[in-house]
């Protein structure tokens, strides 16, 4: 581990991260205020509709992260760059967290509006399948005892990402044959609501970025420690890890 990199790392972390953290917290608080107080109340659903401002950005950010995971995985398959592998791992984990939020807020919203906890509607179902695919990716990461786990995981990520259009097409056609109420409403959206939605999306995107950064740093540190242990046991086999 070179000293120059860890010093500049340290400076970046110590200075930039807390500043960005505070800014993001302020942005999140502002977005929260906008969602609960400023946004107009929806006619048919009432205040419950405000869940929308947390439900939708979570999905968008989750998909964005999985897209980055796809890119990073392909990059790793081609270049075998360890940083790309870490980006893939981090974006998958944080993406799963955001999609979990989406999948939890969905039923909480559905219950008062439609009277049921779950409906196999197009969006919820697709999100669920995507969530399953990336959870299986995380399981592979956790359970793989191969030294080439990043490679296997990258292959799985590519397959998972390729599956996404099929997920959408199959569920779309299934729904046209067996129509059900669409969650979250279709059609046009009030521009004031769109404004609040965008603010929340921006706030949560910044939050996601910081969480990914923190997780990335953790992973980096973890790998350095593991490498040090490995080196140590090579040099002195009597030392147990």
């Amino acid at each position: 581990m070179s000293c120059e990199s860890c010093i500049s790392d340290w400076i970046l972390l110590k200075k930039a991260f807390p500043i960005l953290g505070v800014l993001t917290a302020i942005l999140l608080a502002y977005a929260f205020y906008q969602a609960l107080w400023v946004a107009p109340t929806e006619q048919t659903m009432g205040s419950v509709q405000r869940i929308f401002y947390y439900h939708v950005p979570s999905a968008i950010i989750g998909f964005m992260l999985f897209f980055i995971n796809f890119g990073a995985s392909i990059f790793y398959l081609i270049k075998r760059n360890p940083a790309a592998d870490m980006v893939a791992l981090v974006t998958a984990e944080v993406g799963v967290v955001f999609l979990t939020v989406n999948l939890v807020t969905g039923p909480i919203w559905a219950r008062p509006v439609w009277g049921i906890w779950w409906t196999w509607d197009m969006r919820l179902t697709s999100t669920l399948v995507l969530w399953l695919i990336y959870v299986s990716y995380l399981f592979l990461r956790r359970f793989s005892s191969s030294g080439e786990t990043p490679l296997l995981a990258a292959a799985l990520a590519v397959l998972g990402a390729l599956c996404v259009p099929f997920v959408y097409f199959s569920i779309w056609f299934f729904r046209t044959q067996h129509p059900q109420p669409v969650m979250g409403g279709g059609g046009s959206i009030d521009p004031r609501m769109l404004h609040v939605l965008l603010i929340n999306w921006l706030a949560f995107s910044c939050f996601a970025f910081l969480v990914c950064w923190a997780r990335y740093r953790l992973e980096q540190l973890q790998r350095e420690v593991d490498a040090a242990y490995a080196m140590e046991s090579l040099r002195d086999p009597r030392r147990s890890t």
Partner: protein
């Protein structure tokens, strides 16, 4: 102005519980790692 809707509260609370929960796992692992590095330094291993 919001009316006190329990579902709305539950959704927002669930969101933050999930996010904070995940952040806590990162913080805890980080603390454990820092402790490990300290022990390694004391044992003379260069991380």
């Amino acid at each position: 102005m919001i009316s006190a809707n329990p579902y709305l509260f539950a959704a927002y609370a669930a969101t933050w519980i999930i996010h904070i929960g995940y952040l806590m796992t990162i913080v805890r692992r980080y603390a454990r790692l820092k402790r490990e590095i300290e022990e390694m330094r004391k044992a003379g291993v260069r991380p």
